[in-house]
């Protein structure tokens, strides 16, 4: 019976995975674009921009994800008509931007200053030097730390269920209430789905890291 229930309910769970995946991609994309911009501003920008970057980062790293979700959903929805999904992308995406900005800032600062000097000495403008020389190196170094961010945001998508995004965890709650019980079995399957989803993502990221590795620039120890 429980197996039967799980099999008949599997399409709903997989749909939950699909919604979680969409949420994850959107929030990571928002976090990437904004986080990278913040990192560049924090390293190279005028002090006012740098100050803004630090303030943004402190705020979004200092508030629990679940509180941010509630703030964005109930707070923003009073003024602008946004869906629960959009609110979740904004809340988790902005928070992710704060974390990602620190990953990218660290990698940018780890690139030897001589790289920028050499680029500028050739006649590259600062933006061109950042784009052509600094970022290709810094982003390679970021993949390792970024797998952390990927994993923690993937799990954070489950929090979106509190504002009514019908992702995997919420699908599980529906199944449990419509089939009276089976809590442990359903959540075990849900846990397995999250685990597989996370494992596949990390596997892909490590493959990417190896593919982009440059001699003398690898992650990890040597010798």
């Amino acid at each position: 019976m429980i197996v039967e229930i799980l099999i008949t309910q599997m399409p709903y769970l997989l749909h939950g995975v699909w919604v979680a995946l969409q949420l994850l991609v959107c929030l990571l994309a928002l976090g990437f674009v904004l986080g990278l911009s913040l990192a560049i501003l924090e390293v190279y920008g005028h002090w006012t921009l740098r100050w803004f970057g630090v303030l943004f980062e402190r705020i979004f790293r200092g508030i629990p994800a679940i509180v941010l979700l509630l703030l964005f959903y109930y707070g923003v929805a009073d003024f602008v008509d946004i869906s629960a999904f959009t609110a979740a992308v904004l809340a988790l995406g902005l928070r992710s931007a704060a974390y990602q900005s620190q990953i990218f800032r660290g990698s940018i600062l780890s690139i030897s200053h001589g790289q920028m000097l050499a680029a500028r000495a050739m006649g590259m403008s600062k933006p061109m030097a950042i784009r052509e020389i600094i970022l290709p190196q810094a982003l390679r170094l970021s993949i390792g730390p970024w797998t952390n961010e990927f994993s923690s945001e993937m799990k954070a998508t489950s929090l979106a269920y509190v504002i009514g995004v019908v992702e995997l965890t919420r699908q599980a709650r529906y199944i449990i209430s419509s089939t009276q019980g089976n809590i442990l079995a359903v959540f075990a399957v849900v846990a397995a789905l999250y685990f597989i989803f996370n494992w596949l993502g990390n596997w892909g990221l490590y493959r990417l890291e190896r593919k982009l590795a440059v001699p003398g620039f690898e992650q990890g120890g040597q010798g």
Binding site: Q115, A118, A121, M122, G123, M124, S125, M128, P136, G216
Partner: protein, 245 residues
């Protein structure tokens, strides 16, 4: 006059590193700047292409003064070779050389690569064109960085102690490339204590001490009969000058 450097001053805090340095380089000339360490030689070189903006003074290339408005354009004419090479770590040798022509001068991919291969040929590095910097020896990296400078087709190349990070064996291969460039008529301003290069390839030696140019002249004259005591002392310390010269 290809390169005119007029009255460059630079101070760091209370220390005045350059106290009004002027020099000129004619097209095709190579000049070597020597002097004790801490004298401002490298700072002077960096002030010339404004990697370190001078506090005072002007730099003119082909009669055009470097300003913040034309800085990037002017730097294309003033290639710079660093002591520690600074090759772009993520790019193969050939792409290190091609990236400037492609991104700055707007050449297409194929043309930039052809140019890069020609410049690598000039420095004897064609065989290692596909290697990454970390896979090359110091001497090879410096030769690639010279090729990278050449690919911008600069008017002048500034060399900042190009062999100081190399052991004597590797120094030879870099000096050989520099001598070849000098004899090809490349205009060069070199900060170096490399006597072999100074003697055989330099048109003039500039001796700096304490933020000033103390004296300058053709190598045979400056090495054989330096006018200043400081120059004499320095030359004897690096095993040159006096009776032996």
């Amino acid at each position: 006059m290809l390169l005119q450097v007029e009255n460059i001053h630079k101070r760091y805090g209370t220390a005045e590193v350059l106290k009004g340095v002027s020099l000129n380089v004619v097209a095709g000339q190579s000049k070597v700047i020597m002097g004790p360490s801490g004298t401002g030689k490298s700072t002077l070189l960096r002030c010339i292409n404004h990697l370190t903006p001078p506090d005072q003074g002007r730099v003119l290339v082909e009669g055009v003064e470097i300003t913040s408005a034309n800085l990037n354009k002017m730097r294309e004419k003033l290639a710079f070779v660093f002591q520690d090479f600074n090759l772009f770590t993520h790019l193969r040798a050939v792409d290190n050389v091609a990236v400037g022509p492609r991104k700055i001068r707007g050449m297409n991919k194929v043309a930039a690569r052809d140019l890069a291969m020609r410049e690598l040929e000039r420095v004897g590095m064609v065989e290692r064109a596909e290697a990454y910097p970390a896979e090359l020896s110091g001497g090879q990296q410096q030769r690639v960085s010279i090729a990278r400078a050449l690919a911008m087709e600069p008017k002048v190349i500034l060399f900042d102690e190009p062999t100081s990070a190399l052991d004597p064996e590797l120094t030879g291969e870099v000096v050989a490339v520099m001598k070849q460039l000098a004899s090809d008529g490349m205009t060069m301003l070199v900060v170096s204590h490399e006597i072999g290069f100074a003697r055989q390839a330099a048109d003039e030696i500039i001796f700096m001490d304490g933020g000033h140019i103390l004296e300058q002249g053709p190598p045979e004259q400056l090495f054989a009969s330096p006018q200043h005591e400081r120059t004499r002392q320095f030359l004897s310390r690096i095993g040159e000058g006096g009776a032996g010269a």
